[in-house]
């Protein structure tokens, strides 16, 4: 009886622990970071497209999010995280680490410039949005692989 209770507790414990472990995997962390960047980009794009009213605080928050992600994004590509968890990271990240790091640094610099500019109106946002989002494709061109 005691054993059975212990066993049940262990099963429940393991089930509770499993998602926590997956969420800590670098592949998952970096995917979540990119989703945050996508969300921030979308918030600004809706203003740029005229689908949402200009909101200076929201624009600054979005730029800050991207800057914060870029600050540590490169830490989540350790050796051993080349595959798994549906990663779309390209092998080039590990064969050309310096090139990859330079792309992240360029994203950080663009985002920081946007934060520093703290755009007060839509034209101000448009001036930083274009150069900032050039970084997306410039990096994904070489360092991301579509697998499905």
């Amino acid at each position: 009886m005691k054993f059975r209770t212990l066993f049940a507790a262990a099963v429940i414990g393991a089930a509770a622990l499993a998602p926590a472990i997956a969420a800590d995997e670098p592949q998952v962390v970096r995917q979540e970071m990119m989703k945050k960047v996508g969300g921030a980009t979308g918030a600004m794009a809706k203003m740029v497209k005229g689908e949402a009213d200009y909101d200076a605080a929201a624009a600054l928050a979005a730029l800050t999010t991207i800057s914060e992600v870029a600050a540590t994004f490169g830490d989540y590509f350790p050796e051993g995280s080349e595959t798994g968890m549906e990663t779309e990271a390209a092998p080039a990240i590990w064969t050309d680490r310096a090139g990859f790091d330079a792309k992240i640094a360029a994203l950080k610099a663009s985002a920081d410039a946007g934060v520093a500019a703290a755009p007060a109106d839509l034209d101000g946002l448009k001036a930083v949005f274009g150069p900032l989002t050039q970084n997306c494709g410039a990096c994904h061109e070489t360092y991301r692989l579509k697998k499905s």
Partner: protein, 305 residues
């Protein structure tokens, strides 16, 4: 007597094969009609971007105005060897400055060089062959306005037996066609315009359709995606059978082609980055037409599986 008959038989078969694999130019009537058109360079610029000419024929890594210098040099790796895009700038020696519009039409529509040889289909004349006379003349007029480059073209790095250009005559017999890739019942003008852009100048199917071991398209798999010819990963399935864009609306597709953003604000990647920059230079009407055509495609399972 028997030996003579056998010899004659072999000679006949060889003769037939030689005749069948001969490079065939565009008909004289059509060349004459194209030559009679006064090409419009401004209209030709749209075709230049729709056709992605600079993606292969500008120097590797060229950006901005440097994309208009068609000095060649981009390397395309494939299962058959590495093809190196030639100089097609208007330089009379190093490029195509000495070509007539008929030479250009034979290259684009028939895959035949001014020397009368077959081109490798790494140059996607297999798609360009669907282009209209007017578009060929306009594109040629635009190319004439570009800067000259004296950079010499490099030979392709292709081994035996693919280095025998005549053998491409056999390949063309099997796979080269100017017919539509899909039949779309009840297609309106917008869808037909999209079909022209995608199947013709845009040559989207060259990467997005799976190929058999000798490089022909697999049947009934148009735009269903393929293995990435340049290494790992895949080229996405553009039909409703794939997960990449099947959930997108036509306006999502058009916005992606304009901005490089997916509906989730993920971005374009891989070799599509350069293609998207080209698509951004089209009119919004043409991007909408491409989107309408893609939405009208028959559903296909992933081509790489």
């Amino acid at each position: 007597m028997k030996r003579l008959a056998l010899g004659l038989g072999v000679a006949a078969v060889a003769g037939i094969a030689w005749t069948l694999t001969a490079p065939r130019q565009v008909t004289a009537d059509r060349l004459e009609a194209i030559a009679a058109i006064n090409g419009d360079a401004t209209a030709g610029e749209t075709l230049f971007w729709a056709g992605g000419c600079a993606s292969c024929h500008a120097a590797p890594g060229a950006d901005g105005d440097a994309k208009l210098v068609l000095s060649g040099g981009v390397r395309l790796s494939s299962d058959f060897g590495t093809f190196i895009a030639p100089n097609i700038s208007p330089d009379p020696g190093a490029g195509i400055g000495s070509w007539s519009v008929a030479d250009f039409a034979n290259a684009m529509l028939a895959g035949v060089s001014p020397e009368g040889e077959h081109y490798y289909p790494a140059f996607p004349y297999t798609s360009y062959t669907r282009m209209t006379d007017r578009d060929i003349a306009d594109l040629f007029a635009f190319l004439k306005t570009l800067p000259e480059s004296q950079v010499a073209s490099l030979p392709h790095e292709v081994g035996f037996p693919f280095n025998i250009r005549r053998s491409l005559g056999g390949w063309k017999l099997l796979f080269f066609t100017d017919q539509p890739r899909v039949t779309l019942a009840g297609a309106d003008d917008q869808v037909l315009r999209g079909q022209y852009l995608v199947e013709g100048p845009g040559h989207c199917g060259e990467c997005h359709t799976p190929r058999n071991p000798i490089g022909g398209f697999v049947g009934n798999a148009w735009l269903s995606g393929a293995k990435n010819p340049e290494g790992e990963g895949v080229i996405p399935n553009l039909t409703a059978g794939g997960k990449s864009i099947s959930g997108w609306s036509a306006s999502d597709i058009a916005y992606y082609l304009e901005s490089g953003f997916t509906p989730d604000f993920d971005s374009v990647g891989g070799s599509m980055v350069d293609v998207q920059k080209n698509m951004a230079k089209l009119t919004s009407g043409d991007r909408d037409a491409i989107a309408a055509y893609l939405k009208a495609l028959p559903e296909r399972a992933n081509g790489w599986e």
